[in-house]
């Protein structure tokens, strides 16, 4: 007889996710992924000025801040025909890439690490041995000192002694599957704190260009920040110097701290390369930080890898990406399509809220066919993984040299095969790999290109020709595909008589957290937990193992749930 386990709230993620499980003999046999928050932002966009849409859609998520805004302005520009100058695009690239770094670091240290790191065990560590451990794993991070490790140990000891554990209250510190030696735990806790300082510092790249973070400001047609080497009120050498430092800090932190920590921790939990295999299909349109106006297949010059998909874990074959093969199932969602249909392509979908769940408070949702606010996107009828794992695999399969080099190095040091990347640890490893690639691209390509342009006198950041609504077509549609921290994101907009007629977002966490389709095929979260009946859950009161697996996707639930325009109509996928 199966035992039922509910994890709600599933913490250390963005937003509200509920996971329901059935377990037998210490293994998960059934899983339901349930989005329990709905906001309706697309409804709210109807009839507004399309130049404002970025400010609304940016508020879909404050963790992956900026990415919805960039995707929105790119989609609107695609619709109205605005052409942002190259320097504006490079500024956006710098914002996207720096966010990709910061977001991955926050995820690893502050959202994911406590799945593997036992804070209470850190006090048993000897600071000198901790330094030896750090050296042994190749961590050359400048924060590694005996004095520092002693301070952190004493801080943790003080918290434990006080009996007031703050954010560590109720953690699973007695769980038998915390495996790191005390020195690794202490080092990781110290790096947890260092990572807070790091992200706070380097994200100021956003503040220079967008005035603030979270939620920097953007502009349809370019950027609002001016650049001019010879004016004090424009971005000049003073800010360039700061940005250069923050980028250098990023490369340093990722190289000397994040990557060695990731490899060391995953090395101890190596069986997680055989746990948590999810849907064997992958989709990406480019490397992290890419944002294409219109069909991504027409825009490949800005990314070293092409849009593509991989099916059935066959990493030797990359198939071309066709936007027309995207559909969305509402079989498990509290939504309806007309005529009782369960799946429609986005271009003709009409969706209405149809809540059939229990009135809260409730105990269990999984007995009903419908159990979530999230749709279940499918590509060619298949559930797809998106995010770092998909981008890394597609880059690897296309022979992107730096990806191949880093992945091969990591696989060798961990003694794993490429096939094992479809796993809990594989997704976490791919995120670290991608973070390094993003930092290096920012340091070696994007920022230098921006500076080189500036040197040539290119200071234009705004296309004013399409600013006035009178310059727009009476009706126009546009879209943007982007690669953001959690995966593939697209925004679709139709502008009519100067106002938004339709707006839709297709979001990474929807791809991943969506539930079963009408064929009863589970979504990627569900598959990772219940795909083979072998995922461990030793003690249902301490669901550490499924937390590891779900966190490996980096859920962003506020992004996941979206639907409806005011007429209850799903937005058309427009050809442009």
């Amino acid at each position: 007889m199966a035992d039922r386990v509910v994890i709600d709230p599933l913490t250390r993620i963005e937003g509200h996710l509920r996971i329901e499980l059935e377990t037998e003999a210490g293994a998960i046999v059934k899983a339901w992924s349930e989005a329990t928050q709905f906001r309706g932002i697309e409804t709210i966009l109807k009839d507004r000025d399309p130049r404002d849409a970025w400010a609304f859609t940016q508020r879909i998520c404050g963790v992956c801040t900026a990415v919805h805004a960039v995707t929105s302005i790119t989609a609107v520009e695609n619709a109205i025909g605005a052409t942002p100058p190259p320097q504006a695009l490079l500024i956006r690239d710098m914002i996207m890439e720096s966010l990709a770094i910061q977001d991955h670091v926050i995820h690893f240290y502050h959202l994911h690490a406590l799945d593997f790191v036992n804070v209470a065990n850190a006090v048993k560590a000897d600071p000198e041995k901790t330094l030896e451990f750090a050296n042994a794993i190749g961590s050359t991070w400048k924060g590694n000192t005996v004095q520092r490790f002693a301070q952190v140990r004493d801080t943790v000891q003080g918290i434990l002694d006080s009996g007031q554990l703050s954010i560590f209250t109720g953690g699973y510190w007695g769980h038998p599957d915390y495996r790191l030696p005390p020195e690794a735990d202490l080092m990781a806790v110290a790096h947890y704190l260092d990572a807070l300082e790091f992200q706070r510092s380097m994200i100021r790249i956003h503040t220079v260009f967008g005035g603030k973070n979270p939620h920097p400001n953007f502009l349809v047609g370019g950027m609002a920040c001016t650049i001019d080497p010879n004016r004090s009120e424009s971005i000049n050498q003073v800010q360039l110097g700061d940005i250069k430092n923050w980028i250098d800090e990023s490369v340093e932190f990722v190289k000397t701290c994040y990557i060695p920590d990731g490899l060391a921790i995953l090395g101890v939990y190596k069986d997680y390369f055989d746990i948590g295999a999810s849907s064997p299909n992958y989709l990406a349109v480019g490397l992290s930080g890419t944002a294409y106006p219109g069909d991504p297949n027409d825009n490949v010059q800005r990314s070293p890898i092409k849009p593509g998909v991989i099916f059935d874990d066959d990493f030797s074959k990359v198939l071309p990406f066709d936007p027309a093969l995207v559909s969305e199932s509402i079989a498990s969602a509290w939504l309806t399509y007309p005529d009782g249909k369960k799946t429609l392509t986005p271009d003709i979908g009409e969706t209405e809220v149809d809540y059939s769940g229990p009135t809260p408070p409730y105990e269990w949702l999984g007995d009903d066919d419908k159990y979530t606010w999230s749709k279940a996107p499918r590509y060619d009828g298949r559930p797809m993984q998106v995010g770092p794992i998909s981008r890394v695999l597609l880059a690897y399969a296309q022979g992107h040299p730096r990806t191949v080099e880093i992945v091969n190095g990591a696989a060798e040091s961990l003694d794993i095969s490429l096939a094992q990347l479809n796993s809990t640890a594989g997704r976490t490893l791919a995120r670290a790999v991608e973070c390094l690639i993003s930092a290096e691209r920012l340091a070696e390509e994007t920022f230098p290109e921006f500076v080189a342009n500036l040197k040539r006198g290119d200071i234009s950041v705004f296309d004013a020709s399409r600013w006035a609504p009178s310059s727009w077509p009476k009706e126009a549609s546009g879209y943007c595909f982007a690669e953001v921290p959690r995966g593939n994101l697209s925004h679709w907009v139709t502008v009519k008589n100067g106002k938004i007629d339709r707006y839709q977002c297709v979001v990474p966490t929807t791809w991943l957290s969506g539930g079963r389709d009408e064929e009863d095929v589970m979504g990627p979260y569900e598959t990772s937990l219940a795909g083979n009946g072998k995922h461990p859950l030793v003690d249902p009161s301490q669901p550490l193992e499924p937390l590891r697996t779900i966190h490996s996707f980096d859920p962003c639930m506020s992004c996941a749930v979206h639907v409806l325009d005011t007429d209850g109509q799903e937005l058309q996928v427009a050809e442009s």
Binding site: V6, D8, P9, T11, R200, S470
Partner: protein, 417 residues
């Protein structure tokens, strides 16, 4: 690089304070506030214990501190996240003044916060149930969708409203942090599909401190909490519940570009000469004249910059219903003498009333703006703060403006299209 690896992680709370150079007087005041706020049971109304009430100067030792702190424990915090985007917690992580490390490890015991807490599921809910029974500080991010029995945001199988009410019951201070918690924000924008409302529309029997902004500056969020610890009381607020220490100034009055407004130097198109020279963004739709916030003073991300400093008009995110009242974002604020603080600005600066009224269509949002701002204007806005307006600005401002409800009506340069 500006960050250092020390300075906050001393072994004990006492040594942290000592290292930070806390004087005896300040420390005793701090302890008095703490004791009054928490050990004495009633968070904000207690008196300072006698033993701590007679401060003397001189360096304070760790022993003094330890002894004094014997009688108090760290205040317990419940930090809820309801219908929102997590941007407010991200802003907290960015604070460089009082840092999140300070707050979480040294100053407070933040025992429930979904973004950072170790526990999940039942373990997390047990923690919450336990703290809810004890005195605590409640911080809330996110709005409460009350439509359709609360189905649009459920946590642990309960509606957001139920979660909020349970945590508010024994809360000794309640802080609504961020535009969503203050008034519903983006999801409450028309047509507000989920019936999203702010905390003070649910919790009516206790004062709610409204830390406004989308998100608020991280330093302001944590200073709002630390204020309670330092002063033993919640911060003084304006008529909308916003702490005066961060919301008593209009952006327009503290703006680095204000001299250009006074001199009549305006950006007319993004990236024009004026933009590159840092001129005033009023004509690009800046909501600074109607927005109360310390953005220009405190700035963002460790004093790096702020929105107007980066060339974008203020979108007014600390003001109620800004997603409806202040949009379209790039339309110039309506200028209607006689009806609100913008009008007051012109009256004071130009010394004319009737002349500028003529021919001005009344924007439908004005009434709403006045409702929000009127109380403050009476209570806290010093009229002299507007100062003098130069002749060129006076001329520009005296031009009649067309009402801007229609997106095609006014745009760049305020021209009719």
């Amino acid at each position: 690089m500006t960050y250092s690896l020390d300075g906050w992680q001393e072994p004990t709370f006492a040594e942290n304070l000592e290292k930070a150079g806390v004087s005896r007087r300040d420390f005793l005041k701090f302890c008095g506030g703490l004791a009054a706020a928490f050990a004495a049971g009633s968070a904000v109304m207690g008196s300072v214990p006698r033993a701590l009430a007679e401060p003397t100067d001189g360096p304070v030792t760790a022993d003094d501190i330890a002894q004094a702190l014997d009688s108090v424990t760290k205040p317990v915090v419940v930090w809820l996240q309801l219908q929102e985007c997590t941007g407010c917690m991200e802003s907290v992580l960015r604070s460089g003044g009082t840092t999140v490390e300070d707050v979480v490890l040294n100053l407070l015991s933040v025992e429930y916060n979904e973004l950072v807490m170790a526990a999940a599921g039942d373990a997390a809910n047990s923690v919450l149930d336990k703290i809810n029974e004890e005195p605590h500080i409640l911080v809330v991010n996110g709005s409460i969708p009350i439509k359709d029995n609360g189905i649009y945001c459920c946590i642990g199988g309960e509606s957001a409203e139920s979660v909020l009410r349970k945590s508010a019951k024994n809360a000794e201070a309640i802080l609504a942090v961020g535009a969503c918690a203050v008034f519903g924000s983006v999801q409450a924008a028309k047509p507000n599909p989920t019936g999203a409302v702010g905390v003070d529309q649910i919790i009516r029997d206790k004062p709610v401190i409204n830390v406004a902004g989308c998100p608020p500056i991280g330093e302001i969020i944590l200073a709002s909490v630390a204020y309670i610890l330092t002063h033993g009381t919640t911060p003084k607020t304006d008529a909308e519940g916003r702490p005066l220490f961060a919301y008593d100034q209009r952006i327009h009055d503290s703006c680095q570009r204000r001299p250009h407004f006074d001199a009549g130097q305006f950006v007319r198109t993004f990236d024009d000469e004026g933009a590159r020279n840092g001129w005033c963004l009023y004509h690009m739709g800046c909501k600074g004249p109607s927005t109360f916030s310390a953005c220009p003073i405190i700035q963002w991300n460790m004093h790096t910059n702020w929105p107007v400093g980066a060339g974008h008009p203020c979108i007014g995110c600390t003001e109620k219903d800004f997603f409806d009242r202040f949009t379209p974002l790039y339309n110039r604020l309506p200028r209607v003498p006689g009806l609100g603080i913008e009008a007051t600005a012109e009256k004071v600066g130009l010394g004319m009333v009737a002349a500028t009224v003529a021919g001005v269509a009344i924007h439908t949002g004005v009434t709403a703006i006045r409702k929000g701002a009127g109380k403050r204007a009476e209570a806290a806005t010093p009229l002299e703060a507007f100062g003098d307006i130069g002749a060129e600005s006076a001329a520009v401002l005296a031009e009649p403006e067309v009402a801007s409800d229609d997106v095609t009506a006014t745009n760049d340069s305020g021209k009719v299209e």
